[in-house]
């Protein structure tokens, strides 16, 4: 597993357990006892989560498992209600705006829906981070952004508007924008969702090549099992706001945990009914 010298040494994929044995000092991402609440509903229950340099970590879980909330904390869109989230050693909960900006320059985020600006062309969308965060020569910006479009197989599409792209093309354009600054850390939300199998497989390959060529550390949030098993060094399985396990692909496949096997085998969960809680939920007044 390659790593960038500034990120510290890469570690071997961790084994079975609630959390891999990555020392905090070596982790690019270090989350400790993270809790998140939506109103009175707790959606993350004291998450511990560490990712080493050069690793591809997949966060897997069903709807409502808390994986999107965890991602929002990792990219600094949501501050922790309690617990800490550190990227590159910077605590996002206490960091100044300047420190947060420095972290943001080192990360790339590819959102599930693409989040392209509809008033800008594809090329302008991809070049936007370079124009905002660097003072590079305009010709360098043009070449860099077109290079990234080539990398995602959208070479020559720079003049199209986002509305003229298919869903798969939007996703690839968003990835081009996310990687245009060659971030040390890339977050990818549901890369395969809604894509045909061939395009999904191409994106999986691309994620692996980005890690190997540009030494990126990559965190992928997905519920697509095939993609997760193909790209992951390590998988973290979330369920109902808790980490069920973090481990290598084979360890997750073989995990005896019923909830993990339900997820892997697409078995519907049996809803537990506590009569008193259920009744209170139905009848409690708002506020």
């Amino acid at each position: 597993m390659p790593s960038h010298p500034r990120d510290g040494p890469a570690l071997q994929p961790p084994g079975l357990g609630p959390e891999p044995p990555v020392a905090s000092a070596q982790a690019l991402i270090d989350v400790h006892q993270l809790q998140a609440w939506y109103g009175r509903r707790r959606v993350l229950h004291g998450i511990d989560f560490r990712v080493a340099a050069g690793e591809i970590r997949v966060i897997m879980g069903g709807s409502g498992s808390g994986k999107s909330t965890l991602l929002r904390h990792l990219i600094g869109l949501q501050r922790p209600a309690s617990g800490t989230v550190k990227l590159f050693g910077t605590d996002l909960g206490t960091a100044s705006e300047r420190e947060l900006l420095a972290v943001r320059k080192r990360i790339g985020v590819s959102f599930q829906g693409g989040a392209l600006l509809t008033s800008l062309s594809v090329g302008e969308n991809v070049a936007l981070p370079l124009r905002e965060h660097t003072r590079l020569d305009e010709s360098t910006i043009r070449i860099m952004s077109r290079l990234k479009l080539e990398v995602v197989n959208l070479g020559g599409f720079q003049d199209l508007m986002p509305g003229q792209l298919s869903g798969g093309m939007v996703k690839r354009a968003a990835l081009a924008r996310a990687i245009v600054m060659d971030p040390r850390l890339l977050f990818f939300d549901e890369p395969s969702a809604g894509l045909d199998p061939v395009v999904a497989a191409e994106l999986d390959e691309l994620i692996l090549r980005l890690r190997d060529a540009l030494r990126m550390t990559i965190v992928v949030v997905t519920h697509e099992l095939e993609s997760a098993f193909k790209i992951a060094d390590t998988i973290t399985v979330l369920d109902q706001g808790e980490i069920l396990m973090t481990g290598a692909v084979e360890a997750v496949r073989a995990a005896p945990n019923t909830r993990i096997q339900d997820l892997l085998n697409r078995r519907p969960r049996e809803v537990q009914v506590d009569a008193e809680t259920y009744l209170r939920r139905l009848t409690e007044e708002e506020g």
């Binding site: 590079l136 360098t140 990398v151 060659d182 540009l214």
Partner: protein, 114 residues
């Protein structure tokens, strides 16, 4: 992994110019590399960029090399990348630029006559 200092040196050789790069070519100083590569083209001689001591290159560094290649072509002179490391080659391959640049092990190989 050997870590080299960030350096760019230009050497006038017999019949060509050699730009030697070292270290991690990234956003923080790739504009220096760009300037050195474009300056090397000014004499109208073939230009080689020696990448043997490059530990890491990002796409801003690759962009400088692309601009150099384009400048060389418009002047009708040869432009080659010398002693490309595995990491640099992987980045070139990522963008399929390994099919665009002349890659050579040595300057002799790059600029040898027919």
């Amino acid at each position: 992994m050997t870590n080299h200092a960030n350096t760019v040196e230009t050497e006038q050789c017999a019949g060509h110019v050699l730009v030697r790069l070292g270290g991690e070519v990234d956003l923080s100083w790739s504009q220096d590399v760009r300037r050195a590569v474009l300056a090397a083209l000014q004499g109208g001689l073939p230009v080689g960029v020696d990448l043997a001591a490059v530990d890491y290159i990002d796409s801003s560094g690759i962009a400088a090399l692309v601009e150099g290649l384009q400048g060389a072509r418009s002047r009708g002179v040869a432009f080659a990348l010398i002693a490309v490391s595995a990491q640099v080659r992987a980045v070139l391959e990522l963008a399929r630029l390994d099919r665009v640049f002349t890659l050579a092990a040595t300057t002799d190989e790059a600029f040898a006559g027919p």
